[in-house]
């Protein structure tokens, strides 16, 4: 093992004051630079809330459901790159948090979730509000802890933040029993960490880098896929510079949106199930695929057997498990995207190899030809097309540079397709877990983190009803969130599959909604309804001009479909462009 890398004697900052665990927790959070947390109180964490009562360095945001606290913490982390923090009570408070934890785990964002637990001597007795949270979360978090002694608390908090934000980021759960919360100790915050089993690799192996560059220099049809790892490592500048230097087109995954400017001529936009036709074709026909920070989820590879079968694959990822898990990789490079791309760029700029841009002329001509093929709205109706709403939202908000969250469904895919993002951390969506109900609380977190920004949540009528209670949170803190509901009266994405694959049996997918205008008003927010095309822009303008939460209910055509569409299991170049146009190679 790599000796001496992380293993140094724990040196501690001494303090003479004795305090209870609850207070120590807050002091530790302060040391980690936390000044805002999301949470919900209950029995076993009452001492923590008592400490928060007079705490002037941590502001607590009271949500309306613990799932929302965790999504908000993730939204906060996604918008800022900092670690988001959520606090819940034991039992139901903690089990409510699970979806949030799993969501952050699959998308790889750093959060620390602190759950209360019954006293250590009661654990295992089925005590009131006891749940085995360490057991339950084991498979959906990066790491977890049960704190058994208050003396361990500072070390555990320090480790938790370190683990959450380094390597492949992810959620860390700290289960904090009642007796530890009230136990007294002197507060000492360790300066150094001792985690001998945890040493993420940051720099790429120099020989692999040379091998990768050699392939890329000689490639005639190269493509870069940029994923969420580029956001996590903050490597968008390096990636952009590298792609431009070697003149390679860039496709991005859903999680990688914003890592390469959408308006650059090298941008292919999103690939995958609902990705651009030309992005899927470019990836399918490339001779060298350079993947950066993506786990090759089935939503982007389609049929694995047919994915890039003729291409050489180079893959950078900080998580060795992501490499050769789904797609076989010829040149694996374990490391942090930013470090490795910096190394690669420096090497390329030595110009030991001639970079022959003409080599790729034909390739770009071919891509331009593919770019002619586009999907169009498919239903001819007098109702508003949902795509039009998203397009107009884009046109009338792009200059104010908002943070755009979405829920999950058709509206999410249309947003990913039509809203053009030129930088990372601007688009917040649940990719890996695909959690309906994520967007609204995530918007709460983003709005708390970025107080001078407008935050949009582009929502479906189904999804918004999953965490709609958070409207009260928005009103309480006057968060500048605009919820744009694409109201199609259906669980549209599921209906779309039923239309195509299940003989139009719309089983349980028609979904009713409350009157969102009245609902918004009942909560003390503003509600606007839009039924005609000419009302779209004024409604958006009014929503943006108002400082505070607004619901806009866009009544749209129910039977519109998301195209392009690659059916699950098909190769990604078998693309449906509309209801009756299939484009096959």
């Amino acid at each position: 093992m790599a000796e001496g890398k992380c293993i140094t004697k724990i040196e501690q900052q001494e303090s003479t004051e004795t305090m209870i665990g609850a207070r120590i927790l807050l002091e530790c959070l302060r040391k980690e630079g936390v000044d805002e947390i999301f949470g919900y109180p209950g029995g076993v964490v009452l001492h923590i809330y008592d400490e928060l009562y007079n705490c002037d360095y941590i502001k607590h945001y009271l949500v309306r459901h613990e799932q929302a606290a965790v999504h908000a913490a993730e939204g906060y982390a996604r918008a800022t790159g900092k670690v988001g923090v959520a606090l819940t009570t034991s039992g139901p408070g903690a089990t409510n948090a699970i979806t949030g934890i799993a969501n952050a785990y699959l998308d790889g964002y750093p959060i620390v979730v602190i759950t209360g637990q019954v006293s250590v001597d009661l654990i295992g007795n089925d005590a009131f509000q006891e749940a085995d949270i360490v057991g339950i979360t084991r498979s959906c978090c990066k790491h977890n802890y049960l704190v058994k002694d208050v003396k361990d608390l500072p070390r555990i908090i320090k480790e938790a933040f370190h683990i959450a934000k380094t390597g492949k980021p992810g959620p860390v759960v700290i289960d904090l029993p009642k007796n530890v919360i009230v136990q007294k100790a002197k507060f000492k915050y360790p300066e150094k960490l001792e985690l001998p089993g945890y040493n993420p690799t940051y720099n790429g192996h120099p020989r692999q880098i040379l091998n990768a560059l050699k392939l890329l220099y000689e490639a005639k049809r190269p493509v870069i896929i940029s994923g969420g790892g580029v956001v996590a490592s903050g490597a968008n500048k390096e990636l952009t510079e590298f792609a431009k230097y070697l003149h390679i087109p860039v496709a991005n995954t859903l999680m990688g949106i914003g890592t390469f400017p959408a308006d650059d001529k090298l941008s292919l936009g999103m690939l995958g199930m609902h990705g651009n036709y030309w992005a899927n074709y470019a990836v399918s026909n490339c001779d060298v695929l350079f993947a950066v920070g993506t786990r090759f989820n089935d939503r982007i590879t389609g049929s694995l057997k047919k994915f890039c079968s003729d291409a050489k694959v180079i893959h950078i990822d900080i998580d060795p498990c992501s490499i050769s898990k789904n797609v076989n990789v010829d040149i694996p490079i374990v490391g942090d995207a930013k470090n490795v791309l910096t190394q690669m760029l420096a090497q390329a700029q030595k110009r030991e190899h001639e970079i022959n841009v003409d080599l790729k002329d034909k390739w770009f001509a071919q891509i331009d030809e593919w770019k002619q093929k586009r999907a169009m709205p498919v239903v001819n109706s007098d109702k508003i097309a949902p795509q039009t709403v998203i397009q107009k939202i884009y046109e009338y908000t792009k200059d104010i540079d908002p943070i755009v969250c979405t829920e999950v469904g058709q509206h999410q895919m249309w947003t990913a397709q039509l809203y053009k993002f030129n930088k990372p951390r601007q688009f917040i969506t649940s990719g890996g877990l695909g959690t309906m109900g994520f967007g609204f609380p995530a918007a709460v977190g983003a709005a708390v983190a970025m107080k001078d920004k407008v935050v949009l949540n582009i929502a479906g009528d189904g999804s918004i009803q999953m965490n709609i209670q958070e409207l009260m949170t928005c009103v309480d803190y006057n968060l500048n969130i605009k919820v744009f509901i694409i109201n199609n009266g259906y669980l549209g994405m599921v209906r779309q599959w039923q239309e195509k694959i299940y003989n139009k049996h719309y089983s349980q997918t028609q979904i009713s909604s409350p009157d969102y205008v009245k609902l918004a008003e009942a909560y003390g927010a503003i509600g606007i309804r839009v039924q005609k095309e000419e009302e779209i822009v004024p409604a958006i303008k009014k929503a943006i001009e108002h400082k505070g939460p607004v619901f806009v209910d866009f009544i749209v055509e129910p039977f519109e479909m998301v195209y392009p569409w690659v059916l699950a299991g098909d190769p990604i170049n078998k693309v449906l462009l509309s209801n009756d146009v299939v484009d096959e190679p």
Binding site: M1, R138, L146, K148, G197, Y198, P320, C321, S324
Partner: protein, 165 residues
């Protein structure tokens, strides 16, 4: 194809369940799993016998490594290691079979550790092929109960041992 993995972990609460949870959660097989502290009580050695093709084994090793408390994961090959299993086996001992049982025990250097009017209990130590051979020879006589420790293995050189740990 069977593979033996040797995993060095920190002796922390929950390590074993994260490890076994990883196998069940991701659909990997566990043939056997043994765990005990190393010479340094802060660490434990886990020996896992599992099966799968090369790609699966590679993923298992990487996933094991990903656990925060894992220090080292190594695949142990037959050639470079010594592996042993301890088996306690209770076999029906009819009068006419007793000498046969003793003969088998002698050949395989098994010990008789308990005797009753109707049974012998044997203690067998050996690698997988030896253990398998004894079981097959005794099976026709009626094995009443068998308890196996699972395989433990050690490399012939100090390839993946941490200094003394």
């Amino acid at each position: 194809m069977k593979h033996t993995l040797s995993v060095l972990v920190q002796n922390e609460a929950g390590v074993l369940s994260s490890l076994s949870g990883l196998f069940s959660g991701r659909g990997y097989n566990i043939e056997s799993l043994t765990v005990a502290p190393t010479i340094d009580n802060e660490y434990s050695r886990v020996t896992i016998v599992t099966s799968g093709d090369e790609k699966v084994i590679e993923q298992i090793c990487k996933q094991l490594h990903r656990l925060i408390y894992t220090l080292k994961v190594a695949e142990i090959s037959m050639e470079n290691s010594v592996s042993r299993e301890l088996v306690l086996l209770k076999v029906t001992a009819k009068d006419e079979d007793r000498s046969e049982i003793l003969r088998i025990a002698e050949i395989f250097e098994a010990k008789i550790v308990d005797v009753s009017p109707k049974t012998y209990t044997l203690q067998i130590v050996g690698d997988q092929s030896k253990v398998q051979a004894v079981i097959e020879l005794l099976r026709p006589l009626g094995i009443k109960e068998i308890v196996r420790s699972g395989l433990v293995a050690i490399t012939k050189e100090n390839q993946f041992m941490m200094n003394g740990k």
